[in-house]
């Protein structure tokens, strides 16, 4: 473990410059540049808002104004996007860097770290933009949004633990990267992002709330939409789960690292 951290420290410049390059390369060749980072999630918000707002806006309690539903959506998607981006990139990171791993000796754990880092950078950009939109829509932005910086690492840890573990297996069984998007989609509709939790019958809410993503998304709703302090006890449990998954991922990664280059 110590050796791992030490090698990451030795490669800090590489990791930072890779994150910077990743961010940078998204807009060097596109006309709209940095807009694309935010335009994609924003279009998602617009579509859902357009189709579902009439149906669901009256059901969201505690938010006034015609934009209540859009605000609710954006808060949930901010959490969801970070989760899926980290998960997806960690899952594919070993396969897509196969050539580098075969030819250059460097701490391979830097690869998922870079993936996590650039996902967070993208998410922070989105966070800033969403707050600007909230202000424009006349929605009160409270100091509670500071909790965002506590929630980001929790989301990242949970997604990275899952993603790296799946990423290691994906090197050997490529079906993983086909199956996971399907599961992610199911999970999306089982999480109250486009609909409020209270439209779900009481009996199912109990089951849904067992999902760690449910806990995270509801925390985002709390700080961005309702202006309340998130429920800390379940958050602590999710953090513990995330750390346990990271531990498992690291264990798999170490055991597999000799075989990985043979198979890639």
């Amino acid at each position: 473990m110590q050796g791992l951290l030490r090698s990451l420290w030795d490669y800090r410049f590489f990791i930072l410059s890779s994150i910077k390059n990743d961010f940078h390369s998204r807009f060097v060749r596109s006309k709209l540049g940095g807009f694309w980072v935010i335009l994609q999630p924003l279009s998602q918000v617009l579509i859902y808002a357009f189709i579902l707002s009439n149906l669901l806006s009256s059901r969201i309690q505690g938010v006034e104004g015609p934009y209540g539903y859009a605000i609710y959506l954006m808060a949930g998607l901010l959490a969801w996007n970070l989760f899926t981006e980290v998960l997806d990139r960690c899952m594919k990171v070993f396969v897509s860097n196969a050539n580098t791993m075969k030819k250059v000796k460097f701490p391979r754990i830097a690869l998922p770290i870079i993936a996590i880092g650039s996902s967070i950078v993208n998410n922070v950009v989105l966070f800033v933009l969403i707050n600007v939109i909230f202000l424009a829509l006349g929605h009160a932005v409270t100091p509670l949004i500071g909790f965002y910086f506590l929630l980001v690492p929790i989301v990242a840890i949970l997604a990275a633990g899952t993603g790296i573990a799946l990423g290691v297996i994906n090197v050997f069984v490529r079906d993983i990267e086909q199956v996971v998007p399907i599961i992610i989609q199911v999970l999306f509709w089982f999480t109250p992002i486009v609909y409020p939790a209270n439209v779900v019958p009481e009996a199912y809410t109990k089951i849904l709330s067992l999902s760690p993503i449910y806990v995270l998304v509801e925390s985002y709703h709390a700080i961005f939409v309702f202006g309340t302090v998130p429920n800390l006890a379940p958050l602590a449990a999710v953090t513990a789960l995330g750390l346990a998954l990271c531990g498992l991922a690291l264990f798999l990664f170490r055991r597999a690292s000799a075989d990985m280059v043979d198979v890639l």
């Binding site: 410059s17 890779s18 075969k102």
Partner: protein
Amino acid sequence: MSAIRVEAINKSFLTYRSEWQRMLSWFGVKPKITSQSDILKDITFSVGKGEAVGLIGQNGAGKSTLLKIITGTMQPTSGSVAIDGRIAALLELGMGFNPDMTGRENVYNSAGLMGLTHPEISGVIGEIEAFAEIGAYFEQPVRVYSSGMQVRLAFAVATAVRPEILIVDEALSVGDAYFQHKSFARIREFREAGTTLLLVSHDRASVISICNRAILLSEGKVRMDGPPEQVLDLYNALVAEKEHQVIEQSKTSDGRTRTRSGTGEASLASVVLRDEQGRETDLIHVGRPTSLEIVARANTDITELVAGYMIKDRLGQVVYGTNTHHLGQSLTGLKTGEEVRFTFRFPANLGYGNYSIAAALHGDENHIDRNYEWQDLAVTFSVVNADHPKFVGLAWVEPELEVSR
């Protein structure tokens, strides 16, 4: 202490009934292995500090696998590698450049991947830019580079800081002649400064001119480890090896290894160098008429027979070579037991020094397909300069001088 120490390395690629079973093996379970291919078998050698070793072998001999294990990207199945010092490996130049980023940005990225810190890179980036000689392109995205420019930049980055150990794959044979020259000059420079070099190449000239030792890998084993010239002779024989072909190596009187190989359908009865009076000799004067006499015996009926020879210098580089096919006189329809005498007459337009002659009998224009007998170091001789003005070099190309003022 040696720079590279490879001890009893084995590498096998295993296949299981399914990949899930492979994963079980990480947890101490021993699933059934359905097939196993052994790439490296019990490889042991060590390379001393400052040595330059050529790694030679046919495709599939296990060279790349061995390099990956030494570099540390691949783990051996058993055995150990001990490395003393920083390794720089030029395995695939230009790999990993991001086409949308500029040369400068890519330099930071690749050098970072090699483990250099930002300040360290900033310290050498001027040198990298100067060495790559790509001018204003340095500030342009790599996608507009020619492949030669990418190689230049990649080589400049990889060798920006002198490593203790440098591993060079065939990658270097790309790029134009000028840059090849320049990169070899840099490798030589490193070598003089004490860098240990491991060079993988099929190119006789580069192995002989840079390395002081060569290792021949064949079917995953170290076949020979010794002076480059002799190892290359055996490699040459292996290239033509067929099942029924024998390769034998013997020591000459001066302690060098002589390689003989071939199918034996025809054999070299004698190879003799004669001076202008027709006496057998091993001392030749610059420019004098000389003849090489090769006597071949057919051990079976042979449809076509070609005899050839190569004159090599002290380092084993070929100075001149030809054969009866190229000279338009290949023989056909030889009967068992028939003897043929080939006499090649030539003026010894060679520079002062020691030379050797390799002689060969084969059935085609080259020795790859039907190699009857190939003999390295069949004759060794010295060239002395007693009656001409002093000159340097391998060839005697005497000018007529005219000075006007």
